[in-house]
C-alpha cells in the first residue's frame, strides 16, 4: 500500500469517526444565539446612551463591546460559554464575545504551563492570527486611501 492510498484510507476513517453536526438545526442554533448576542450589544449601547446622554454614539458602541467582552470572559471562567459554544457553534464564535472567549479559554487552559510561556504567551493562540490579520489589513486600507 503506497502512501497516498494509506492517507486516503486514513482520511475516510477519520471522517467516519468524526462527530456529525446535524446541519439544519445547527444553522438555526447559530442564527438565534448570534442574533441574540448582537441584540444584547445593541441594548447595552442604547442603555449607555440613555444613562449618559452626552456620550457619542461611537463611545457608546465602544463601551458596549467592552462590556460584552468582559461578560463573555466571565462566562468562560464559569464554564458556561463552552456550553453555549457547543450548542450554537458559529453563533458563539463570530460575535466579539467569541474573540474574548478565545483569549480567556486559552489563558485558562495553558495556565498550567506557567505564567509567562503558558498563560501570557498562549492566550493568543486563536486571537493572535486575528490581531495580526487585523493590523495588516488596516495598514493596507490606510495606504489604499492615502494613495488614491
Amino acid at each position: 500500500m503506497n502512501e497516498t492510498q494509506r492517507n486516503e484510507k486514513y482520511n475516510a476513517y477519520i471522517k467516519s469517526k468524526m462527530p456529525k453536526t446535524k446541519a439544519w438545526p445547527s444553522l438555526f442554533h447559530a442564527f438565534w444565539v448570534g442574533g441574540l448576542i448582537c441584540c444584547l450589544g445593541e441594548f447595552i449601547k442604547e442603555l449607555c446612551l440613555y444613562i449618559f446622554p452626552y456620550m457619542t454614539s461611537l463611545e457608546a458602541s465602544n463601551w458596549s463591546s467592552i462590556i460584552i467582552i468582559i461578560i463573555a470572559a466571565l462566562l468562560t471562567g464559569f464554564g458556561i460559554y463552552d456550553k453555549i459554544g457547543a450548542y450554537a457553534g458559529a453563533g458563539s464564535i463570530i460575535p466579539i464575545t467569541g474573540f474574548s472567549n478565545s483569549i480567556a479559554s486559552s489563558a485558562l487552559e495553558f495556565k498550567r504551563e506557567g505564567m509567562v510561556f503558558g498563560l501570557m504567551a498562549k492566550m493568543f493562540v486563536i486571537a493572535g492570527p486575528v490581531i495580526v490579520t487585523g493590523v495588516l489589513v488596516s495598514i493596507f486600507a490606510g495606504l489604499l486611501y492615502l494613495i488614491f
Binding site: F31, C38, S65, G91, L108, M123, V130, G142, L143
Partner: protein, 122 residues
C-alpha cells in the same frame, strides 16, 4: 431609549444571518474557529474599504458591529481616517488605536479570569 423597537428586529436578523453564514462555512469546510474569525474580520475590513459597511451599519447597527466584522471595519476605518489626518504615521497607528479598547478589555478580562478560575476542560 426604545425610540425604535424595530432596530432590535433588524439587529437580530442581520446578526443572526452573519452567524448562520459562519456556521455554513464551518459545516462545509470544517474550518477552525481561528480561521472563521480571520475570514469574517477580513470580510468586515473589505466591506469598510469599499464603503458598503456604513450602509449596513446604518440599517442594522450592532447586527454587523458586534460580529467580528465590526472589529475588522473599525480597524480599517481607524487606519483610513488617521491616515487622512496624520499621513503615513496615522496609517500605522489608526487601526489599533480605534480597536484598542476591545483588545485591552479582552486581554485584561482573559487574564483576570485565568488567574481566578481553573480550567474545566480535562
Amino acid at each position: 431609549m426604545f425610540d425604535d423597537p424595530l432596530i432590535y428586529l433588524k439587529v437580530f436578523l442581520v446578526g443572526g444571518l452573519v452567524c448562520m453564514i459562519g456556521q455554513i462555512l464551518i459545516i462545509t469546510t470544517q474550518m477552525t474557529s481561528a480561521r472563521i474569525l480571520v475570514s469574517f474580520l477580513l470580510l468586515g475590513a473589505f466591506l469598510e474599504i469599499i464603503g458598503v459597511y456604513q450602509t449596513i451599519y446604518n440599517f442594522a447597527g450592532a447586527g454587523i458591529a458586534i460580529p467580528i466584522t465590526g472589529f475588522g471595519a473599525s480597524l480599517a476605518r481607524g487606519a483610513i481616517d488617521a491616515g487622512q489626518n496624520l499621513g503615513l504615521i496615522g496609517v500605522l497607528t489608526g487601526g489599533l488605536t480605534a480597536t484598542a479598547g476591545g483588545i485591552a478589555a479582552a486581554i485584561f478580562a482573559g487574564f483576570v479570569v485565568a488567574m481566578i478560575f481553573n480550567s474545566r476542560t480535562k
